[in-house]
Amino acid sequence: MDIFLQQLINGIVLGSIYSLVALGYTLVYGIMGLINFAHGDIVMVGAMVAFTVIHLLSGSGLPMFLIAGIGILAAILVCMAVGYLIEKVAYRPLRGAPRLAPLITAIGVSMLLQNLAMMIWGRGYLSFPALLPAISIPVAGAGISAVQILIVCASAAMMSGLSFLVKKTKLGNAMRATAQNREVATLMGVNANAIISITFIIGSALAAVAGVMVSAYYGVAHYDMGFILGLKAFTAAVLGGIGNIEGAMLGGLLLGIIESMGAGYLGAITGGVMGSNY
């Protein structure tokens, strides 16, 4: 197998997941200048909810793609609700507060979600059911699995949908206006609070999908999977230029490719001194 091509493919798949999560960070940051530390945990909630739903339905005899679809839908709905609630309870009351105050509540929310998840789903690794048959399509010496294709296609579709939403629709216009200057946007008849809520809901929906993707890709779900993922996605968002939607996509892809290339080659380049554990 061609290692380079394989790592590139893996990197792109990983990167498109990062991009989806990074979009959530960037949307929220762009509109209210807040690092939403709880975003990674919303990803986790999405994965967990999908896991439970798929698990419950797996004995019902429905076709797998339908079960997966219902699972993803449930994850999206739950995450939207969670995102909305978080914004309403933990961030909205702090609109006029010092800038670091919402950061602390975000950390609090993150702890809350993680430990709630630990109480509900336990502390073990849950093995996530395979949503697609494990087939691998050979491409020039490397292999692409069906899950990988689905992940890349789905995230590309969602990202272009989001781009369209933000750039072309009235809602997107209102979002961009709120991001630029909340007071003036309000004067122009934009309901800034509603827009911020919607932003959170969109970001959470993306996070839910990303959560299902990452669990389906690695085959496991875990209560603290969101933390590191969120951190990486946040890095990706900053790398691409936080607050900028295309930047988040690019940053996510770059980070994914760098990570997988690093895992593949760092050991060889440094003669084994720095292994993939860096």
């Binding site: 940051y29 200048g33 807040l34 690092i35 309870v89 933990a90 009351p93 702090l94 609109r95 006029g96 507060a97 010092p98 800038r99 670091l100 105050a101 919402p102 950061l103 602390i104 509540t105 950390i107 609090g108 929310v109 993150s110 702890m111 809350l112 993680q114 430990n115 709630l116 630990m118 109480m119 502390r123 200057n181 909340r182 007071e183 951190l231 946040f234 890095t235 900053v238 936080i242 001194v273 720095m274 292994g275 554990n277 860096y278």
Partner: protein, 358 residues
Amino acid sequence: MTKVLKWALLASILAILPFLTDFAFGKTWVRILDFALLYAMLALGLNIVVGFAGLLDLGYVAFFAVGAYFYALLASPHFGLHLPFWLLLPAGAFVAGLFGVLLGAPTLRLRGDYLAIVTLGFGEIIRIFLNNLNAPYNITGGPQGINLIDPIKLGSFALNHPVGGSIPSVYNYYYLFLILALLAAFVSKRLQYSRIGRAWVAIREDEIAAEAMGINTRNTKLLAFAMGASFGGLSGGLFAGFEGFVSPESFTLMESIMILCMVVLGGMGHVRGVILGAILLSIVPEALRYVGPLQESLFGKVYADPSSLRMLIFGLALILVMLLRPAGLWPSPTRKRELSAQGETAKHENDGVYDAGR
């Protein structure tokens, strides 16, 4: 005269506190007090960077790690070196300060979140290096860390031995940490109103205006990083001597975040508030360990996993405190004035006062 009385009262309370705690809750709690004091020193250090100079640092624990490993490497059987602590502690603080400059220099032009991400990365780099520098040459002991570290010795008297066979060792460390924490608080306080401290505040409020006023922003910011880091290095050395064991596990990102929480929750930029925050946030999680037994005594059965319930309540507490007191539990008086004077205008997006989060 009343002021003297107040201080005398405070001093005597602090002096007998370990005995009272031991009497009421047992020795474990004296140890928790020791850690609270250690965290107070750390939080005071981070307060210089975040609270005074307004530079959001998410990798502060790296300096703690540097101090701890510096002490551990030079006072343990690991390399067979046993240098005295009075040499190692200041040297550790100095080395951590150098690391502070190392971090500060490339990040001078960064602001807000970009700075946050670089500092976060720096913290992780240090931890990962500590975790992996056991091959090909074993420098840091890898994930196993370093153990059998020398205790802090005053003359021939090692602090980890009970005094006269009756006063346990946690007391010795309590008094040592208390003295150093008070020293750190004193230094912070003096720094705050010094020329440098005022320069930091000026940079926090408006960097461009500060530069226009003739402040050398580059050196002043570097100094903030170095000063903050040296506090971290000092506490790191104390931690290593106290625990007798260091491993990369003690220096995770979560630790940095906790220290940041202490600073913000207590009241950024206010020395007393920060100490309060540090002590509260190090004691509350320990106190919440009782949720397990409490459930048992109330309902006769443990319903929720105590360890996750404990952190859940802790997270809730963080949210509630910030919602009820957005400026921190004990904000500095000037800051309070600013907030009430600004009132509605504080809501403005580009409010420069709290630039640290940008």
